[in-house]
């Protein structure tokens, strides 16, 4: 079980801020593929992962990073703070 969080327009497209997911995905890319296969709203959110960022346990990571031991995955657009 893994906590998956969505922010900004990713959250809006998927329609929820977070969910717990049962997955055996080895990498972030594998998890994204599983989500896309679920429903259109996920496919819409993950249509272009080059415009997305991912954090694993609250640290920025790459989409090919392994998920072993990770408890919290977050997907969001490029940040616009400051």
């Amino acid at each position: 079980m893994i906590d998956v969080l969505y922010f900004a327009w990713v959250r809006e497209r998927i329609g929820l801020p977070r969910e717990r997911i049962e997955t055996r995905a080895a990498t972030v890319n594998d998890l994204v593929a599983e989500l896309i296969a679920r429903e259109d709203r996920y496919a819409a959110a993950f249509a272009d992962t080059s415009s997305l960022r991912v954090a694993l346990d609250q640290e920025l990571a790459e989409f090919d990073a392994p998920l072993a031991g990770v408890r919290e995955v977050a997907f969001f657009p490029p940040m616009t703070g400051g």
Partner: protein, 146 residues
Amino acid sequence: MRVAVQAEPFDFGAEAAAFTRDLPGAGAVVTFTGLVRDLSGDLAAMQIEHYPGMTERAIAAIAGEAMTRWSLVDCLVIHRHGDLAPGETIMMVATASAHRGDAFAAAEFLMDYLKSRAPFWKKEITTSGAEWVAAKDADEDALKRW
């Protein structure tokens, strides 16, 4: 070093004055303040979403990096989230050092990293709709100079 992530407004002048008191050895203090700018003339509000937990962690890491890279006596970051009106203060940083070069460089470094590496997302609510603010390539490029 102090990091605050909050929905509440803060008093920039009071924070700047408090930061500047009691800085042994400091000769230079630089502050940066970000304001909600009404570009189109019809901005009703700016909504700032953030990632509780990661935000504080990311800002503390960036501020710690600034303290290590430059000879800073102290540094401060305050960043708001939630609903803000045009003209309101979004965030501020303050840096203090013996010489002005360190304080200026560290403040610019903090701003460049906060822009692109702290998990905040801005949405502009105008009379004609709502739109997420797009990240700028220039902001990502700005990181390369450090």
